[in-house]
Structure formats: C-alpha cells, structure tokens
Symmetry: C2
Subunit: 236 residues, 2 copies
C-alpha cells in the first residue's frame, strides 16, 4: 500500500521535506491533495480523524497518521535507512531536523512578522525590519552551526551525521534551496562562509533520485504563496 | 549518575518542559546552570561539544547530549513511562508536543515580532498588533485542537493520549500556565470554551510531585525575561 502524503498542492512549503525523503527512498507514495478531489479529502481528515493533524503536512501509512514535519521524517528515516540505527545517532539527526524547522519558521516570519492574519502587503514595513535581522544575524548563526557540525562529524564533512546520507542532509539541501530562492544576495554571502554547507547542498542536488525529482513536474516551483518567497525588497 | 539539565538559570522558558518531566518522573537531575559556575560550563559545551546544541535546553545523560525540547521529552518519555510504549502512540504524543512547541514559539513572537535583535520596547507597536492576532485567532485555534483531542481520546478526556499521564499532558499544563500568566484576560475567555483543557491543567497542577515542585524554590517564578511575559498592554 503506498504512503499517502497530505499537503497544500501548490507549494513546496513544509511538505517538501517529506517529499524529498520519500523521493530519495524511492518510496511508493501518493501526493493526495494534488489528485482530483484530494484537497477535500485532506480537509475532511483534519476535521474528523480520531487523532486530527493540527496542520499539513501529514503522512498516512495504513491506519497511522503522522503530522508535524519532524515527526514524519523521524518515522520515514527509521523505515528507509535515512537515519542511523543507534538511538543516540537517531536523536541527533532528529535534533538537527528540529533546528532546521526552527529556521524555516523564522524564514516564514520574515514576510509575516505580525502573523498570518494579515497579507504581506499589510505588514511590509515590519517585514523589512524583520528581514534585516534575519539576513544579518539569523542566517549566519544557523549556517555557522551547520558548518561546525559538518566540520566536527567524525564520519567526515560530506554528511551531517555519520558516513551516510540522512534525512537531515536532505532537509539542509532544501533549506539552502529555499533561502537561496528568497534571499539570493544574502545567501551568496553566507554560503561563502559555510563552504561545507554549500558542498553538501550540491552533492544532494546531484544524487540521481533527487536530481530526477527536481527536474520532474512533481517538484513544484518556488512561488510567493509558500514559506520561501522572493520579495526583492527583503533581500540585500 | 544524575541527569544534567542545561538551561538559562533565571527563567522557566523552554527548559521548564524538561524540568516538569524530570520532576514528575522523580528523576535524579542537576539543573547545572543554576549551580555555581554552571553557566560557564553550559556555554563551553555549546561551543565545544562534538554534537553542539544550537541552544539550551539540553540534557546530558552519560555521554549522550540531547537538545531541542521535544527531543528531550521523546527521550525522557520512553525512559520514565511518560509516553505510550506502542510506536503509533509514541509518535502521536511527540506530535502533540511539537504542536505545543509551535504555540510556545508564537507566544514568544508576541513580544518580539521583529526578532530578538531588538528589545521589546523597540518593537512595541508591532507587538501590539501581533498580540491582537495571537489572542483573537491563535490561542482559540490551538485550544480548540487540544479540546478536540481530549474529547476524542478513546482512553477518556482526562489525558491527551491513552489512559495515563504523558509528557504531553505536563506540557499542556505548562502552556496553560504560561499563557495565563501572559494573557490573563484572553485566557480566561479561551478556557471557558475549552473546559477539558482547563480540567487537565488543574489535574496536573494537583499531582503530588508537580504540586511539590511548583511550591518549591526549584520552580522559578514567571518574569519578563522569559518566553511568557506579562505586558498588560498586550492582553485584552
């Protein structure tokens, strides 16, 4: 039985982290909300499931429904050899994912600092100020942390954890993709100071399954409805 | 060997979720940064560990260091019977915790909508607008979700998951505590529409170990350095 992934059908968003893991694993999955009537099915499940997801993305595997991006990856990582088997290594991979998730949330807040109840156009002056701090302080701080992890990994700096690919590597690739789309100037500067992060991004991009996926129509282009948005006024 | 918990010594903050689990479990732990020289030890570990925490809180158990609040609770929950043993139940508990963490982050952003690079006083007009949305839309939406989960739990509405206490119950207690401190008026209204959440909060508060902890000097009072801050102008 294929996995069923539920996420907004027109954006990469948080669902993309799950899609990348499923693609790299070569897993059989249906991106349900992109099928006919699928969005209505997704909304019904959020309303009526015994264990209702608070928000997409969520994954259905048989009778089990798992929401929250990091929890989905914890689940998929163990099943598809995208995380170390040892408990400490598994937790470390999860911890990196949670930290990536924190930066994703902050990236979203650059265009919605006053909350999602208002359009970007209604909070543009505030977005300009928040984006300043994000570009000048937050991106460099997080990238320095990833760079340090790669430098200290006893398994080598080709991966965040151990000697093999984990879902944390896939997610760091996606984080760099998204930030580079939204803040091309700031990221160009930041990646010069984080060469191991840049190399990891490129290596993941060239993995056969990831490359095939990114070149396929399954990969939704970035756009200004998602988490990572290119508003040139927010970059510098 | 006692656990070592590392967190900022003068606030409840995210560390409090770990403290509550350790207290309920009756676990032997040292709140390291509250000991003499402990803060310096914490900063050194963040700088020099092979697997450096991005930020506190983090837990040290022997040689294993675990950061990220939700990952700490995943670890403690399995070891101290504060989560179901079945994998689906464990993931569900974790998913609830991650969603609580999302609301905690949003609570923080009510007083720092433009980021942590500026003081509250420098972003007060923006904080007023963000807090409006948080009180009117976000608190009710999240509380309705917790209320639904409690109502649908086949094990009864005394717990979020199954028939017994989990760390998710402890964390929901702390979330209600914090929000009630920061937004007493808004929470008084919101809890009237979420009676099961209010009951769960009260039941956890009266558990012997939690009660003893909250009455002890180990419980740091809420204050305006933490995540949940009482700025009366942000409540209504």
């Amino acid at each position: 039985m294929p996995y069923e992934l539920y996420y907004w059908p027109t954006i990469q968003g948080r669902g993309e982290f799950a899609r990348l893991a499923l693609e790299e694993a070569g897993a059989d999955y249906i991106d349900v909300a992109r099928e006919s009537e699928g969005l209505a099915v997704m909304m019904r499940m959020m309303d009526h499931a015994e264990r209702p997801p608070f928000a997409p993305p969520f994954l259905k595997d048989g009778e089990t429904i798992i929401a929250q991006t990091a929890a989905i990856l914890l689940y998929l990582g163990a099943r598809h050899d995208l995380a170390p088997k040892d408990p400490a290594g598994g937790l470390w991979t999860h911890q990196i994912q949670l930290t990536i998730g924190d930066l994703v949330a902050e990236a979203h807040d650059t265009h919605h600092p006053l909350g999602i109840g208002l359009y970007y156009e209604e909070q543009k002056p505030e977005a300009l100020r928040r984006a300043d701090d994000f570009r000048d302080n937050r991106i460099p701080k997080f990238l320095a942390w990833f760079e340090t992890i790669l430098a200290r990994n006893p398994g080598g700096s080709s991966h965040l954890v151990g000697r093999r690919l984990t879902y944390a590597d896939l997610s760091l690739f996606q984080l760099v993709e998204g930030l580079t789309y939204a803040f091309p100037k700031a990221m160009s500067r930041a990646l010069k100071k984080a060469p191991r992060v840049a190399s990891l991004h490129d290596a993941v991009m060239n993995r056969p399954r990831i490359k095939a996926y990114c070149e396929s129509p399954r990969r939704i282009p970035f756009n200004e409805e998602g988490i990572f948005r290119r508003y040139p006024e927010l970059d510098a």
